[in-house]
C-alpha cells in the first residue's frame, strides 16, 4: 500500500496550521496589509474555478497533447454550479451533476 502522499499531507498541514494557529497563539500577527488580505480572499475562488475548468474542459489527446473537450461533464458541472447559486446547497448540486452524467452515459447520449 502506497504511503508516499502521507508526506504531502504533512506538508499541506504545515502550511495550513500557521494560518489557523498564529493569531490564537500570538495575537496581532494577523495584521496583514489590506491588499494582501484582499489577494488571499480572491485566491480561493480562482484556484477552485481554475481546477474545475481545466478538469472538465481539457483532456489528453491520443498523442498526449492537451486538447479542448466539451462533453456531458461540462453540462454536469454547469448544472451543479447553477444549483449552488440557486439553492446554496453543494451536495444537491453534486447529486444532480452525477445524475446527469450517469443517465447520459447509461442511455448512450454521451
Amino acid at each position: 500500500m502506497s504511503t508516499q502522499l502521507v508526506l504531502l499531507a504533512v506538508l499541506m498541514a504545515a502550511v495550513t496550521y500557521p494560518s489557523r494557529a498564529l493569531p490564537l497563539l500570538a495575537p496581532g500577527i494577523e495584521r496583514l496589509p489590506p491588499r494582501a488580505l484582499l489577494y488571499l480572499r480572491l485566491v480561493g475562488p480562482a484556484v477552485l474555478a481554475s481546477l474545475a475548468a481545466a478538469n472538465s474542459l481539457v483532456v489528453k489527446a491520443a498523442d498526449g497533447t492537451p486538447a479542448l473537450h466539451v462533453g456531458i461533464e461540462v453540462v454536469g458541472v454547469v448544472a451543479c454550479a447553477a444549483l449552488v447559486a440557486w439553492r446554496r446547497n453543494l451536495f444537491l448540486g453534486l447529486v444532480a451533476a452525477v445524475a446527469i452524467v450517469a443517465v447520459a452515459r447509461l442511455t448512450g447520449i454521451a
Partner: protein
C-alpha cells in the same frame, strides 16, 4: 443570527439549552460532513490514493477544499512544491477566523489553543461563533463539540468509507462519479464568490487555467489560473456591489452548508471586546 451580542455574560439561554441547540446545529453540519467526506474518499481513490494516504489527508491536513484541490493537482501530475504553495494560499483565510476568536480564547491554556487551531475549519468557526453568541459568553467545551463531533470525526470516518467502498464500484465513470471532482470545485468556487471581485477572480482563474492548460499543460495552467485570477480581479475598480473589505465567504469549504461567517466574526469580535474590557 442578527442584532448586537448581549452585554452581560449569561443573559441568553442557559448553558444546557444553548448546548442542546449547538448539538442540533452540529448534527446538520455532521450530516453534510459525512456526505462530503465520502465524496472526497471516492475522488481520492479515483486519483490513486491509498487508504492510508486519503486518511492522512483528512486527519493531518483536515481542510476540505484544499484536500479536494490536491486530488486534482496530484491527478494533473503537479509537483509537490506548487501544491503546497497553493494550499497555503487556499487556507490563508483561516487566519481571519483565528484572529476573530483569539481575543475570546486568551484565557484558554496555550496547549489547548494549539490543539483547537488544528480543527478550526469554516464550519467549526461558524458553530462556535453562533454558540458563543447565543450563550453570550465563550464556552470551550462547546467549541470542541462543534469542531470535533460536528466536523472532524464525521469527515474522517466518511473519508475512510469513501475510499474503501469506492473499490467495490467497478467503473466509477459509468455512474458519473468522475464528474464529482470538477463539479465540487465549481460549486465550492461559487460558494466562495459572494462579491463581484470574487466572481471575477473565479472567471479569470478559469479562463487562464483552461487557456494555459491547452498551450502549456494542466500543471502550469491550474497554478497560473489560481495565482493570476486574483490579480485580474484586483485590477478592477471597486463597484457598488463589492465591499472590498476583508470579509470572508458565507459558505463553507467542507460541507457546503451556508453559514454567515462575516456576521459570526463580527459577533465573536464583540465577545472578545467584552472579554478584554
Amino acid at each position: 443570527m442578527s442584532g448586537p451580542v448581549p452585554h452581560e455574560a449569561g443573559s441568553g439561554p442557559n448553558l444546557r439549552a444553548a448546548r442542546r441547540q449547538l448539538l442540533l446545529d452540529t448534527a446538520g453540519i455532521a450530516v453534510s460532513a459525512v456526505g462530503f467526506g465520502f465524496v472526497f474518499g471516492l475522488a481520492a481513490r479515483n486519483a490513486g490514493y491509498s487508504v492510508v494516504e486519503a486518511g492522512a489527508m483528512s486527519v493531518i491536513g483536515f481542510a476540505g477544499a484544499a484536500q479536494f484541490a490536491a486530488v486534482g493537482y496530484v491527478s494533473a501530475g503537479l509537483p509537490w512544491a506548487p501544491i503546497v504553495v497553493l494550499t497555503l494560499f487556499l487556507n490563508a483565510r483561516h487566519l481571519l477566523y483565528s484572529a476573530s476568536l483569539a481575543p475570546s480564547l486568551r484565557s484558554v491554556p496555550f496547549l489547548q489553543r494549539a490543539a483547537m487551531a488544528h480543527v478550526l475549519t469554516d464550519e467549526a468557526f461558524a458553530l462556535a461563533a453562533t454558540h458563543f453568541r447565543r450563550l453570550g459568553r465563550v464556552d470551550v467545551p462547546g467549541y470542541w463539540i462543534g469542531a470535533v463531533v460536528g466536523v472532524f470525526i464525521p469527515w474522517n470516518l466518511a473519508t475512510l468509507a469513501g475510499v474503501l467502498l469506492g473499490g467495490v464500484i467497478p467503473d466509477p465513470s459509468r455512474f458519473g462519479l468522475d464528474v464529482v471532482f470538477p463539479a465540487a470545485m465549481a460549486g465550492l468556487a461559487l460558494g466562495l464568490s459572494t462579491e463581484r471581485r470574487e466572481v471575477t477572480a473565479a472567471g479569470a482563474g478559469a479562463a487562464i487555467g483552461v487557456v494555459l492548460s491547452l498551450l502549456i499543460g494542466p500543471a502550469v495552467g491550474i497554478v497560473a489560473g489560481g495565482l493570476l485570477g486574483p490579480l485580474v480581479a484586483m485590477a478592477l475598480p471597486l463597484g457598488s456591489g463589492d465591499g472590498g473589505g476583508p470579509a470572508v465567504s458565507p459558505d463553507s469549504d467542507v460541507t457546503g452548508v451556508p453559514v454567515d461567517l462575516a456576521e459570526a466574526m463580527a459577533d465573536v469580535a464583540g465577545l472578545g471586546d467584552r472579554a478584554s474590557s
